[in-house]
């Protein structure tokens, strides 16, 4: 007799809609997804291990490669964490510049997100419209630091170089023009019935579930939880800036889309405030560590051999390690750095809490029971970058 | 002469295709031969001046029913079927029964008489077009059988829906 058997499909690691090298093993019953198993790790480069063998300034460029769509935010997250760990206070001007850069990056990231998300759902034109506008932001990056993708512009204790009037003018012009561009995207998809059918009521995750799964960023806020690290634990200049945290209501793909579209507008308002309020002064703290930061001796208790352990030798005492967890709100969610420091210029442990990693883990919950086409919408809505997910 | 040659071709081709349909191990290939068969049948309809029927033959049988066959067959796992013997064990018996039936038809064929020419002659059909005549016949002379047939189809549709909905 005939037996019913699920069709299992390998979506990825090479697939146009998995945003990199995510691999989903889907078990299909017709068009319905019965089981979804994500496999990650194809882009694992051992960033944490690399970080543990480099001094703090040397590990900074590694963070560019995490979420390569918004490298500036990762740099800032890393610098904020190391500043907190080493007790360095960045100058006010640097803080404002970093805030501007972080918000520009948020816009750039959400542009890539709306581009790929809309392309996955089938609206091709949005993709090209938004890529045109991302070019502008990349030009702004180029203006301040010469790089476009992997910028390494922020430094521990400030930023690499000051911004000039040309950048300011261009930035003003950008924030003036960009709202019109957002409206352009919205005219294409916002009220489109097919877009609404594809997104409303799809990929629902309730607020309690979203918190339980550890979601952050717009993915969490789409479920109506107004948790934003910029508000909950402000860093840089966010405590002096007035902005709102957009939240969704229906916990579906459409609300997360709305959240991110509203964040565009909030980011513009933040950039405008920062540009208006930008204080004068230095952009790099005087106590900022140099590139060739001396490694130094591990801080150990008297008589403790932790620094130079011989093979097979064990010690009883506890070493006074500094521990610090520092979170920043990158476009994709909460990017956390957990450092364990033994007094040298190298982190004893560098842990990166990547939002994409957490978000990718929720895919089975979102996808199981829905249709194949919704899997695509769900991958788009959680906004993952595999460089960050696999580290 | 040419029409006879063409008819012989169609008759032979249809017989061959029918045999191919039932002897293929792979049901997909059977369906493909069936498709070719339907086209030959449609061509025979054209010989009878029934172009409407020919078109409907292709639309309904080739375009809808056979596609549904194909739809179901592609979803089956055919790996085992392809390697089984295409003939069942009792095939000589079946062959005997089949050929005796064929003989019977052959002998009755001698008494075949062409029916009397009715109202709808070829000339009239050409004048009025096939579609119009067919519609008129169906909706006047044969209205009752036509309605009965549609009712039976309706029952089949309802039945299919009941069966499909049962599960959930």
């Amino acid at each position: 007799m005939l037996k019913k058997k699920e069709l299992s499909i390998n979506m990825g690691p090479q697939h146009p809609a998995t945003h990199g090298v995510l691999r989903l093993v889907l078990e299909l019953d017709g068009e319905t997804v019965v089981k979804c198993t994500p496999h990650v790790g194809y882009l694992h480069r051992g960033t944490e291990k690399l970080g543990e063998n480099r001094t703090y300034p040397m590990a900074l460029p590694l963070t560019d490669r995490l979420d390569y769509v918004s490298s500036m935010s990762n740099n800032i997250g890393y610098c904020v964490a190391v500043e907190r760990l080493l007790g360095i206070e960045a100058p006010a001007r640097a803080k404002y510049i970093r805030t501007i850069m972080a918000e520009l990056t948020r816009i750039a990231n959400h542009i890539v997100w709306i581009a790929t998300h809309a392309l996955d759902i089938g609206a091709m034109t949005v993709f090209l419209y938004s890529m045109r506008d991302r070019e502008w932001i990349l030009d702004l990056y180029e203006m301040v630091c010469g790089a476009r993708l992997t910028v390494t512009y922020p430094r521990i204790g400030g930023v690499r170089c000051d911004i000039d009037q040309e950048f300011m003018d261009s930035c003003y012009k950008f924030i003036e023009d960009f709202p019109k561009r957002i409206e352009e995207y919205e005219t294409l998809i916002d009220q489109n019935r097919i877009w609404l059918q594809r997104t409303v009521g799809v990929g629902i995750i309730s607020a309690a579930d979203a918190i339980n799964w550890g979601l952050t960023g717009p993915t969490l806020r789409g479920s109506g939880v107004a948790y934003d690290v910029r508000k909950a634990a402000p860093y840089d200049a966010y405590d002096q800036i007035d902005f709102e945290v957009p939240v969704g209501k229906n916990c579906d793909v459409y609300d997360r889309y709305r959240c991110r579209m509203d964040e565009f507008r909030q980011s513009i308002s933040i950039i405008k405030q920062c540009l208006d309020k930008l204080p004068d002064g230095l952009v790099l703290a005087s106590e900022a560590p140099p590139y060739d930061m001396p490694i130094g001796k591990p801080r150990v208790m008297p008589g403790h051999p932790m620094g130079e352990i011989l093979p097979g030798e064990l010690v009883e005492e506890k070493v006074p390690f500094d521990e610090l967890y520092s979170a920043t709100e990158v476009p994709k969610g909460e990017l956390g750095f957990y450092f364990v420091n033994d007094g040298t210029a190298r982190p004893y442990r560098m842990r990166i809490r990547a939002p994409s990693f957490v978000h990718a883990s929720v895919l089975p919950k979102l996808c199981e029971g829905s249709l194949v086409a919704d899997v695509i919408a769900n991958i788009g809505t959680i906004d993952i970058v595999l460089g960050e997910c696999d580290r | 002469m040419l029409p006879v040659i063409i008819f012989i071709y169609f008759a032979l081709a249809m017989t061959t295709l029918s045999i191919l349909v039932i002897t293929r191990r792979n049901p997909i290939h059977s369906v493909l031969f069936m498709l070719a068969l339907f086209f030959h049948v449609a061509a025979l309809y054209l010989f009878l001046n029934a172009e409407f029927l020919a078109a409907v033959q292709v639309i309904l049988y080739a375009g809808a029913i056979l596609v549904l066959f194909l739809f179901v067959i592609t979803m089956l796992n055919l790996k085992a079927e392809i390697f089984t013997d295409p003939f069942i064990g009792e095939w000589p018996v079946s062959l005997a029964i089949g050929s005796s039936l064929l003989l019977l038809i052959f002998f009755t064929l001698r008494d075949f008489l062409p029916g009397p020419v009715g109202t709808y002659t070829i000339e009239m059909i050409q004048r009025e077009t096939n579609t119009k005549i067919l519609g008129r016949v169906l909706y006047t002379e044969y209205l009752f059988p036509f309605e009965i047939a549609s009712l039976i189809l309706l029952i089949a549709i309802v039945g299919a829906m009941v069966l499909a909905k049962k599960k959930s």
Partner: protein, 178 residues
């Protein structure tokens, strides 16, 4: 609540379990025994005054050289409702390298625990889908351990997987169009 107060509350509730409370900046870590970790965690998750509904992060740390407790599993907890956070650490000896999984309390711990196992070899009992996550399934060793070699100890020799690839290429040479 301030982190200090939370730490003290935990200490008063689970007196024998709490080994140490350390503080750095405004962050407080509580080092606990791993045996009753599930109990402590469900208390933290469910008590109304703490209500740590959000597991920010879970990771392992390798303190190689310590006599008894080589590893630590670090939990970063946050309460979105009360906006306070705490760090819980559970010490794990190398010989008995396992701890109870907290996936039942926070679903988000799922992949973090898998990663922790992948990188440090710490087993999580009660985990629903316990596999490696970042490294290939047939990987040997746990890369983030401090004694994991930074450079291949094979010297000039190739990694065996690479050798297999080379052999396959050699075998398929005959199909190449020249």
């Amino acid at each position: 609540m301030t982190p200090r107060a939370i730490a003290e509350l935990i200490q008063s509730k689970f007196k024998p379990e709490v080994a140490e409370i350390t503080e750095f900046g405004d962050q407080v870590s509580v080092l606990v025994n791993k045996t009753r970790i599930l109990e402590i965690m469900s208390f933290l998750r469910n008590s109304s005054e703490l209500y740590f509904d959000y597991l920010t992060d879970l990771c392992g740390v390798d303190y190689q050289g310590r006599k008894n407790e080589r590893f630590e599993v670090v939990y970063h907890l946050r309460s979105i409702l009360h906006n306070h956070c705490i760090r819980i650490k559970a010490a794990i000896p190398e010989k008995d390298c396992k701890i109870d999984s907290v996936v039942r309390i926070w679903a988000g711990a799922n992949w973090h625990e898998r990663e922790c196992f992948d990188m440090y070899g710490i087993s999580f009992t009660g985990h629903p889908d316990f596999r490696r996550i970042l490294m290939p399934d047939d990987w040997e060793g746990h890369p983030l351990r401090k004694d994991y070699p930074l450079k291949s100890d094979l010297g000039e020799a190739e990694w065996k997987g690479f050798k297999e690839v080379l052999e396959t290429v050699e075998r398929n040479k005959k199909y190449e169009v020249r």
